[in-house]
Structure formats: C-alpha cells, structure tokens
C-alpha cells in the first residue's frame, strides 16, 4: 500500500501542494487507512478492559456494563462498519495483488465491497441497537 497515493513533490522552493483526484481506488485507500487506525486503537483499549478481569472481576463487570450504554452501542456499530469495510476491502486488495487480471474489475470489486458492507452491516446494526430501541437498556 505504501506509495499508492501520490505524495507532495519536494522542490527546491518547498513542498508544492498536490491534490490527487483519484477515483474509487483512492477512496478505497483512504477508507482502508482510516478504518485500520480506528480498529487498532480500539484493540489497544480492548486489551486493557479485558485484562481487568484478572486483577478485579467486579471492576471488569462494572466497566463492561458501560458497553451496553447507548453511546457505546453506537460506537460498536462504528467498529462493526470499520471491521467489515477493512476486511472486505483487504480481500479486494489480496485478489488484485495475487490475480493481476482482476485490476480490470477494480471498480466492480469496490462496489461489491461497499454493497456487502451495507448488506451485512445494516441488519447487524439492528441487532446491536435493538435492546435500546425496545427499551430493555438505557
């Protein structure tokens, strides 16, 4: 991935601003980086919250109950979409890298990534938010 996006060109005068107007591939690249960084920082947080179970299981339960809160449920929906998009787009990258002929279907592949992300993500969003909507959890 490194080097896929066009970088600013360094000249003697300084750095010239270059805005790369790419198509679907550029958005796939940006989305992949952003979703990857988000999932990584959640992972760091998640290691800490799970590890509480060893030192203090009661504290673990208290912290864990926060995840049932509506704000954190919305956060979990965000995590879900980041995970789905990053996984499927990663699969697209693997396909294009190992089967170079796939480049011809680049646009269709990316549309497929977005379509599956939404088709899987929306029903799962309902499952995650349903306990709040039905009033079981505040």
């Amino acid at each position: 991935m490194a080097g896929t996006a066009q970088r600013p060109v360094e000249t003697k005068v300084g750095i010239t601003k270059v805005v790369y107007k790419g198509k679907s591939g550029q958005w796939a690249f940006v989305g992949h980086r952003v979703s990857g960084v988000l999932v990584f920082f959640f992972l760091l947080l998640h290691i800490v919250d799970v590890s509480l179970i060893n030192s203090d299981p009661v504290l673990y339960d208290e912290v864990h109950e926060l995840y049932g809160n509506i704000l954190l449920r919305i956060f979990e929906v965000g995590l879900l979409f980041a995970l789905l998009f990053h996984s499927l787009n990663g699969l697209r990258i693997v396909l294009v890298d190992f089967f170079p002929g796939m480049v011809r279907n680049e646009r269709r592949l990316f549309t497929g990534v977005l379509a599956i992300t939404i088709v899987v993500g929306v029903p799962c969003t309902w499952v995650i938010l349903e306990p709040f909507i039905s009033g079981r959890i505040f």
């Binding site: 490194a2 290691i47 990663g90 693997v94 002929g101 959890i137």
Partner: protein, 138 residues
C-alpha cells in the same frame, strides 16, 4: 543469456519472472515479507475478527459477555488459543499498517522515530499484558 525470453506482455502476470535468471530477480527484503505477512494475516484475521465480533455482539448481547461469560469460555484452552492468535495477529497487522502510514505522513526524521518508539513500546507492553491475561486467568 543463452535463452532469449519473449518480450514481456504489458500486463504483469504471476509468471512474469519465470524466464528471469535468479540473480537478476529483485531481492526479497524485509519489506517483501512485510507485504506478504499483511496479506496472509489479513486473510486469517478476516475470519478470526469477524467471528469474534459476531460472538460478542451479534449472537450474544454485549452486556451478557460479563466475567462469568469469559470464565466459561476460557475454560476451554482452544478458545484461549483463538483469542491469543487474534490478539497477536491483529496487533502485528495493525502495528505494521501504522508503520507504513507513519512513513508516509510524518516527514521529519526525529518526529518519525519518536512516534514509532511510542507506538512500539505501547504495543509491546499491551501485547505482554494481554498474553499474561489469557495465559494466567483461572
């Protein structure tokens, strides 16, 4: 060269290097393996991470994954192995992705070194902490 290979076609194919003498092929550096690791770990994580999310957010509601849930789950060493593999691969995959991004966006050498030092230290400590949790929990 004793054998003349036909002019290479404009589109690269998996066998593009087949006719190239071994000495003239590009050397496989650390970055080659880093690229390969991202593809392989990505494919494994696609199943591990999505299965983990499905178990803790879709099949079970997040509030039900309390200390008792972890206790029952980690009673089986195979689930501990599953979770540890997920921890190790996700952390390494994310770390390498962030390394690429840092190389792309942070242009000043001292800043880059400092940011990497913090990232590697925090990830190393959390990897040890997470491993400790999974191994010693009872």
């Amino acid at each position: 060269m004793a054998v003349t290979s036909p002019p290479s076609s404009p589109s690269a194919s998996p066998g593009a290097l087949a006719g190239t003498p071994r000495s003239r092929r590009p050397k496989q550096s650390f970055e080659t393996w880093s690229w390969f690791f991202m593809r392989v770990s990505g494919l494994v994580l696609l199943f591990l991470a999505l299965a983990h999310f499905a178990i803790t957010h879709i099949v079970n509601d997040v509030v039900d994954t309390d200390a008792g849930f972890v206790f029952r789950r980690w009673d089986n060493p195979l689930w501990r192995l599953f979770d540890w593999t997920l921890l190790a691969l996700a952390l390494l995959h994310g770390l390498n992705g962030l390394r690429w991004s840092i190389d792309d966006y942070i242009r000043s050498r001292p800043t880059r070194a400092a940011v990497k030092a913090v990232l590697y230290s925090v990830s190393g400590v959390l990897f040890a902490y997470g491993t400790f949790t999974i191994v010693t929990f009872q």
